[in-house]
């Protein structure tokens, strides 16, 4: 039963209900504003450029310099494409940090409560946030991948061989490398939605990307081999390679591998979304 605080008033002003609804485009623009108005975004992107292009430069310059001392076997297995994209693997870690912070910083600072007051539809809030982040992450991934490839190849001077986008598998490796950056970023964002704390979410993300491969390599190969092909880091390696050595063809084709990692990201986002609806903010 309700106890009314009954004092008569001649109320006129704003007790009527508003009409209309939240517009998707406005929500996307709001999330974009949020993303670009914190400094961690710009720093992460700068770090990605430095790491990705920097590693490409070092790897390719050193290979060109040492080509004449390399063994025949290493010359045969040399993959100019994957060498120039080696730094992209490291930038996965940085996009993961950014993807984590996009969500966990909102929880950590309490901004999430302002955001949810503005957009009470939680799946919608998460979806627009993930969409804006994905757009940025995929775009940055592609730019980095092409930049690393083109700069790296230009540094692979004769006698070292270099790759061209027109060669079979090369364009796939370069585009695919950029796509991996985006989807790994989304995986981190999904994990952060589940875990909500920055430190915990980063631990989970680095655990999956770095620690798990080390643990699995320590296991007997009868147990380790069937698992390791599912690791995001190995799938990324397959995607960014053109020449496949040790043991011939990889366990999954590059696009199958990409679909698997997309599946991980999707599961993390859906679980995160369900928990977000169920839990108190």
């Amino acid at each position: 039963m309700t106890v009314a605080i009954a004092v008569p008033t001649e109320q006129a002003v704003p007790t009527e209900q508003t009409e209309g609804h939240l517009r998707i485009l406005s929500l996307l623009r709001s999330e974009w504003l949020k993303l670009r108005t914190v400094r961690s975004t710009m720093w992460s992107l700068v770090a990605m450029v430095v790491i990705s292009v920097g590693v490409a430069v070092i790897a390719c310059v050193e290979t060109a310099r040492q080509w004449h001392t390399m063994t025949l076997a290493s010359r045969l297995s040399f993959d100019p494409t994957s060498s120039s994209l080696a730094g992209l693997t490291f930038s996965l870690l940085v996009i993961g940090v950014l993807g984590t912070l996009v969500v966990s910083a909102e929880y950590g600072t309490g901004t999430i409560r302002s955001s949810l007051a503005a957009v009470p539809n939680r799946p919608l809030l998460l979806a627009t946030k993930a969409a804006v982040f994905a757009l940025v992450a995929f775009a940055v991934g592609e730019v980095l991948s092409f930049a690393s490839f083109l700069i790296g190849q230009s540094l692979l001077t004769s006698p070292a061989p270099h790759a061209a986008l027109s060669q079979p598998g090369v364009l796939r490796a370069v585009i695919g490398g950029g796509l991996m950056v985006g989807v790994i970023g989304l995986l981190a964002l999904g994990l952060a939605t589940i875990i909500r704390h920055t430190a915990g979410a980063l631990t989970a993300f680095f655990g999956i990307l770095l620690v798990l491969p080390a643990v699995i390599s320590a296991l007997p190969s009868s147990i380790g081999n069937p698992i390791e092909k599912f690791l995001p880091i190995n799938i990324t390696g397959t995607m960014t390679s053109v020449v496949h050595t040790n043991g011939g063809a990889p366990a999954f084709s590059p696009w199958t591998g990409f679909a698997i990692v997309c599946g991980y990201a999707l599961v993390a986002l859906v679980v995160g979304g369900v928990l977000m609806v169920r839990r108190d903010a």
């Binding site: 039963m1 309700t2 106890v3 009314a4 605080i5 009954a6 004092v7 008033t9 001649e10 109320q11 006129a12 002003v13 704003p14 007790t15 009527e16 209900q17 508003t18 009409e19 209309g20 609804h21 939240l22 517009r23 406005s26 929500l27 623009r29 709001s30 999330e31 504003l33 949020k34 108005t37 914190v38 400094r39 961690s40 910083a105 909102e106 600072t109 309490g110 901004t111 409560r113 302002s114 955001s115 949810l116 007051a117 503005a118 957009v119 009470p120 539809n121 108190d280 903010a281």
Partner: protein, 317 residues
């Protein structure tokens, strides 16, 4: 209008809000009073749809928060001081909120000006004092020009000038016909600001009504008397059948006789009085009295003022 209807919220073993029901109407400042940890913030979070009640519902204009079509245009809230990303500027914080609800950018400048933060609009929030954070939170609440406003402890961290400003702001918002619901654990503040009170203790409704009713219904009033011949005076008063208490400081607390009558009585016996002062229970005392009762609430739930008309209060115990 805000309606809280039979809301219960548990966190693990602790019952934060226990079968709470009340309404907040427009045109007045309604104070939400209770000691720390009594469930005020939890109740406000449930009204805002941030926490979901285990039982019951909290509605605004008849809809739960999640069903408001453009929420910031109907409801504005200050829930926590400085729950804002420290790396973002005040301007950008308000702008992203405005953008999500299609509120024109001009409102951002307008509310920054209204709370006096125009000069620091582009400063990062991390550099803000607690008081500036409160002002920014109030600006965010006002952003959509909403008809319903919730403020959780708005004067925390404010200087006296800021406190006065908030008081006047709340009153003027209510005078414009808005629904203004403001929580505080400071009873004296509520006495100055609120027209009506919703008092809770341990998550339960203790009292609703006007501030003056609230004081009147609780502690009895008495008259403090000092005299060099307090023993003689006490005997005279006892003879009249009046209740007299000897206080530690040497004064007498007399209840059941007016100050005028006590003065006449003393004068007739040529007893010199050093003090003769009627004591009103302050809102603090009234509040303490009522929350002390909340321990015994169980046994008194049928008394007219206290009960929320709901004997089922006891069922949770």
């Amino acid at each position: 209008m805000i309606q809280v209807d039979g809301v219960t919220k548990r966190y693990k073993d602790k019952v934060a809000v226990d079968d709470l029901s009340f309404e907040v109407k427009s045109g007045q400042v309604t104070g939400f009073l209770g000691p720390n940890g009594s469930g005020k913030s939890t109740t406000m979070r449930m009204i805002m749809g941030l926490d979901s009640p285990d039982v019951g519902s909290a509605r605004i204009h008849g809809r739960t928060y999640g069903r408001l079509p453009i929420p910031l245009r109907e409801v504005g809230a200050l829930l926590e001081a400085k729950a804002i990303h420290p790396g973002r500027s005040a301007y950008h914080h308000l702008w992203y909120l405005a953008q999500s609800n299609d509120i024109p950018k001009s409102r951002v400048d307008a509310v920054l000006d209204a709370v006096g933060l125009s000069d620091v609009a582009n400063k990062r929030v991390g550099k803000f004092s607690l008081g500036m954070g409160q002002r920014l939170g109030i600006a965010a609440a006002l952003l959509g020009d909403p008809g319903v406003l919730l403020f959780d402890e708005p004067i925390n961290g404010l200087d006296p000038e800021g406190i006065l400003w908030v008081r006047n702001l709340l009153k003027s918002l209510a005078a414009e016909g808005r629904t203004v619901f403001v929580s505080s654990h400071l009873m004296s503040e509520m006495a100055l600001t609120a027209d009506l009170l919703v008092v809770i203790g341990r998550g339960r409704l203790i009292s609703t009504g006007t501030v003056s009713d609230f004081i009147a219904q609780s502690t009895s009033q008495f008259v403090r008397v000092r005299s060099s011949r307090s023993g003689d005076l006490a005997r005279l008063l006892w003879a009249e059948g009046v209740q007299v208490t000897d206080e530690d400081d040497g004064s007498l607390s007399v209840s059941g006789m007016s100050a005028t009558d006590i003065g006449e009585l003393a004068g007739a016996s040529a007893i010199v009085l050093h003090e003769l002062s009627p004591q009103m229970a302050s809102l603090e005392e009234a509040f303490m009295e009522l929350t002390r009762d909340s321990v015994e609430f169980h046994g008194r739930s049928d008394s007219d003022r206290i009960a929320a008309g709901s004997p089922s209060h006891n069922s949770g115990k």
